[in-house]
Amino acid sequence: SAVISQKPSRDICQRGTSLTIQCQVDSQVTMMFWYRQQPGQSLTLIATANQGSEATYESGFVIDKFPISRPNLTFSTLTVSNMSPEDSSIYLCSVFSGTAEEQYFGPGTRLTVT
């Protein structure tokens, strides 16, 4: 199994500012993902965080808005840039074990943009 922690757990930010969310895993993992969960909704994949190379973004998400870093196999950051109220969501970090077909999720970062 994998234990994932995220910082911050929640934040309230002003529009136009940026917030960087950190994701720390207690073991080395190959596959790391970032999801967004808008209020009352399911999870939408933002991007796959690739170690040592640029992240792979899903349709509707761009690097300028959601830059991602993955400096090693246990850590990643997601930045939400130039925020607007529409960015108010829960952002979740997730890892895939590969061999066990298990996917683990962090507790999420609840972001409110005013």
């Binding site: 596959m31 399911s42 999720f105």
Partner: protein, 112 residues
């Protein structure tokens, strides 16, 4: 267009009642997973179904994978308030990305 459509979107029932949640798609999948998410937490894996027609039981929860591997259902017997949460079906893309795509979700409230 959502790859996986879940129904109902929201369900409010009394403790002790039975319920079924559906996950439908027009695509065929090699496997399908069900997750439950509680407030303030990430989703937690409940089960993975792999074979068409497969039925798996987890205490009071029964999961079935459609014969054609396009749909799945989750049946809860004698629901309890602890079953309250967001239920999500999900499938893994079988390319080099291994990304997990979620259904639209079913929010369940079990009233005591």
């Amino acid at each position: 267009t959502q790859l996986l459509e879940q129904s109902p979107q929201f369900l409010s029932i009394q403790e002790g009642e039975n319920l079924t949640v559906y996950c439908n798609s027009s695509s065929v999948f090699s496997s399908l997973q069900w997750y439950r998410q509680e407030p303030g937490e990430g989703p937690v894996l409940l089960v993975t179904v792999v074979t068409g027609g497969e039925v798996k039981k987890l205490k009071r929860l029964t999961f079935q994978f459609g014969d054609a591997r396009k749909d799945s259902s989750l049946h809860i017997t004698a629901a309890q308030p602890g079953d309250t949460g967001l239920y999500l079906c999900a499938v893994r893309v079988r390319d080099s990305s291994y990304k997990l795509i979620f259904g639209s979700g079913t929010r369940l409230l079990v009233r005591p």
